[in-house]
């Protein structure tokens, strides 16, 4: 595939890895915030190429992983109401609630359908005027603009039987919460790429200004990630602290103004939103503005709305903060596996635990675990 293979060249990777090894003379911990990067790192075995001095910490940027149990329960309760067609992205289907998941709800008779975009859900709504179509919206600023545009379209077309169960979250409050956490030790960030195509690179300035950590916004191909690691390492070696943009082919400093406009038209921040493993984070979630309340599933349907504590055995929080490695969790790979996930980090292929489980058991990391 032209234009993609160029970003996957093994030769270039080895050269770049050699450069990183040359520069990284002291131990460095670098967090990739985004689950997409975590996936790339494991899928291509990037950690095998990095020198021992560089450790990647896998951050909380997998939206499926940070959905709390209570919200999944709410989703299932809506899905089970009669007349409802519940739509969501495929990777939400197996995310565990406190007792069950959406795939089970479907087996028990709920009409749960996988869609590729909220616009597909809106299409289903138009085709089935006698049913209530609910779309489970989740994700960072990567996906929230498409939800916003769908709500605007529904409003324009006067669709009455469509609503959104909104779990959209924002990256900047999450980063702040992470940086404020006392047990975090990091030398820099590989910044999210897709989110940044929407919000731009400017919102990360506070990481440099207030916390003194370098940020390199990165693309998703393996060479993108490797080059971004190189750029973070280079900053620390040269004593610079800046926001740099490795993903300039898609990301601008100011972001996508049209998308940002749609977001601020439709959504407003919630006072608090709960993140699995990280707890409640102020102004980190989005909900529909009063003006679009008729499209808000939480206002249209009764939901239990209960806050349910994370399972005790599960150490997702420490793992999402990079304080613990997945294998240091007691249930990793035994009680908690991709087939029967306890913690959300094991559910999505972008979750740190699932990535280790599926891809990483062989790599150098496993060797490192043997030493610790």
């Amino acid at each position: 595939m032209k234009f993609i293979d160029e970003y996957r060249s093994g030769d270039t990777a080895r050269k770049l890895a050699g450069e990183i090894a040359r520069l990284a003379t002291r131990p460095l911990k670098i967090m990739e915030v985004c689950g997409g990067h975590t996936h790339t790192i494991f899928k291509y075995g990037i950690e095998d190429l990095l020198p021992d001095s560089v450790t990647m910490i896998h951050g909380p940027g997998c939206p499926v992983c940070v959905i709390p149990l209570g919200r999944v329960d709410d989703a299932i309760s809506i899905a089970l109401q009669s007349g409802v067609v519940f739509t969501t992205f495929g990777d939400m289907m197996r995310v565990p609630g406190s007792k069950t998941n959406l795939l089970d709800a479907k087996a028990r008779g709920a009409d749960v359908r996988m869609v590729y975009s909220p616009l597909d859900a809106l299409k289903i709504a138009k085709k089935n005027p006698d049913r209530q179509i609910v779309f489970l919206a989740l994700g960072f600023e990567t996906t929230s603009p498409s939800t916003a545009l769908t709500v605007l379209q529904a409003a324009k077309d006067g669709v009455e039987n469509f609503s959104v169960f909104c779990n959209h979250i924002m990256i900047v409050p999450a980063l702040k919460a992470l940086l404020d956490s006392p047990d975090l030790q990091l030398d820099g960030f590989v910044g999210p790429g897709h989110v940044s195509t929407v919000i731009g690179t400017r919102p990360y300035d506070f990481v440099v200004r207030e916390y003194g950590k370098p940020v390199v916004v990165s693309g998703f191909e393996p060479l993108d990630v490797l080059q971004s690691v190189y750029m973070v390492v280079k900053q620390t070696v040269e004593g610079r602290v800046e926001v740099e943009n490795q993903y300039a082919r898609c990301v601008s400093r100011g972001g996508n103004l049209k998308a940002l406009e749609a977001l601020s038209e439709v959504f407003e921040p919630r006072d608090y939103f709960e993140w699995r493993g990280l707890g409640s984070i102020a102004h980190s979630g989005m909900r529909l503005k009063q003006k679009y309340a008729r499209f808000d599933a939480e206002r249209r349907f009764d939901v239990p709305g209960l806050r349910i504590a994370d399972p005790k055995a599960c150490q997702c929080g420490e793992i999402l903060k990079g304080v613990k490695k997945p294998w240091e969790c007691k249930v990793f790979g035994t009680a908690c596996t991709p087939e029967t996930p306890i913690g959300s980090c094991m559910v999505s292929s972008e979750g740190a635990c699932a990535a280790y489980y599926n891809y990483g058991r062989l790599s150098k990391i496993a060797g490192r675990a043997a030493q610790t």
Partner: protein, 375 residues
């Protein structure tokens, strides 16, 4: 591929859990149970075997091998007659797709399950579940395609059954086929036959069928020229066995499988577990059509997990690998055959992939459904 892997406590912990006896906790059947991946294995081993298990079924191969000893006679005639027996049901949607239809699939699928036992497929049964209102015109099209596929594979449909259910009781048309074939040579093929040093041969490009079905559903509004690879593999298997006995012996061929649901990744995992070996494959040697790669990239699918309907994976002695590949390439259904990896000792029971990028990762079985109702 000289460096070795270091097994770690982490690895052993996961392996122990991975080999636990399946414990089916679900209370209902979900689509994941039909995926060809882990959930389906759990259902088969944890539920079906509990009730129906017997020494032949317990082997869990794609076919049963039945041995009958002939009464009387001497010398050669004492050799038991070996029959291969297999069954498969077809529920694919849509029923017509580029490169084939449910009828061609129903013939080739069962023929291939027989062929990979080393048998010459002979006779099929066909059971039809028709939904009320299904156009006869479509039924004729499916049957014509079954007739042509049977002729190509050299089999006959010799018994059948028809049921009609109310509208909504089935989706248009489901087909079940069973088949028998006779294993004429003393070949012994089994998922547990892989040995350290063996080579892994793949007969052609990956993922054509699964990707075709995905696109044929039209949910994605992609337009491509990808076609399903549905094909009978009997002649390819015969060529391979013939070549093996010409250059060495039939014993050089250890295992043949056709990687359908769950893809090559799942098939290789089954072999690695059954044979207690590690299978190492090289990403840069795995052939994937450019269009399939593109479509998988967009859909977030991995070609290694996508279904094939006309490909086979062979585990063979290193000494015969090149000769077999050369012979396979002369067969229309093996033109892109190549060695994609080899069998090593440790770590046992896993499939490892050397990425084109220079790293290594585990290729596990599929967990949930990647895509339901593809065959």
């Amino acid at each position: 591929m000289t460096e070795t892997f270091t097994p770690s406590p982490l690895f052993q912990r996961v392996e122990r859990a991975r080999r636990r006896k399946p414990n089916v906790r679900d209370t209902h059947v979900t689509l994941a149970h039909g995926s060809g991946g882990k959930a389906m294995h759990e259902l088969i081993e944890g539920v079906f075997l509990e009730y129906l298990g017997n020494p032949i079924l317990d082997r869990l191969e794609d076919h049963a091998v039945l041995e009958f000893s002939r009464a009387g006679g001497a010398t050669d005639r004492d050799a038991p007659v070996r029959l291969a027996y297999a069954t498969d049901s077809y529920v694919v949607t849509p029923i017509f797709f580029p490169g084939g239809d449910i009828g061609r699939l129903a013939v080739n699928g069962t023929v291939n399950d027989l062929a990979v036992s080393g048998a010459r497929p002979l006779y099929l049964s066909a059971g039809f579940i028709l939904e009320e209102g299904f156009p006869l015109e479509d039924l004729r099209r499916v049957l014509a395609s079954m007739r042509d596929a049977a002729a190509e594979a050299g089999v006959q449909v010799v018994t059948g059954d028809t049921k009609v259910v109310q509208r909504g009781g089935a989706d248009k048309l489901f087909i079940n086929t069973s088949g028998v074939g006779v294993i004429e040579s003393p070949v012994r093929l089994s998922a547990s036959g892989a040995r350290v040093g063996d080579k892994v041969i793949l007969s052609g490009t990956l993922g054509d069928h699964g990707t075709t079905i995905m696109i044929a559903r039209g949910e994605l509004e992609l337009e491509t020229e990808i076609e399903s690879d549905t094909a009978p593999l009997g002649s390819l298997v015969r060529d391979m066995l013939d070549e093996a006995s010409r250059v060495a012996s039939l014993d050089a061929v250890h295992c043949l499988r056709d990687p359908t649901r769950g893809g090559v990744a799942t098939t290789l995992n089954e072999i690695a577990l059954a044979s207690e070996v590690c299978i190492e494959i090289r990403e840069d040697r795995i052939p994937v059509r450019e269009e399939v790669r593109g479509a998988c990239e967009i859909l977030g699918l991995e070609p290694l997990y996508v279904a094939n309907e006309g490909k086979l994976v062979a585990i063979v002695s290193a000494g015969v690998a090149d000769a077999l590949v050369a012979r396979m390439r002369q067969n229309a259904y093996g033109r892109d055959a190549r060695v994609i990896g080899e069998v090593t000792a440790e770590p046992r029971g896993i499939v490892a992939l050397r990425t084109g990028f220079g790293g290594t990762r585990i290729v596990d079985m599929l967990v949930g459904e990647q895509l339901p109702r593809i065959c």
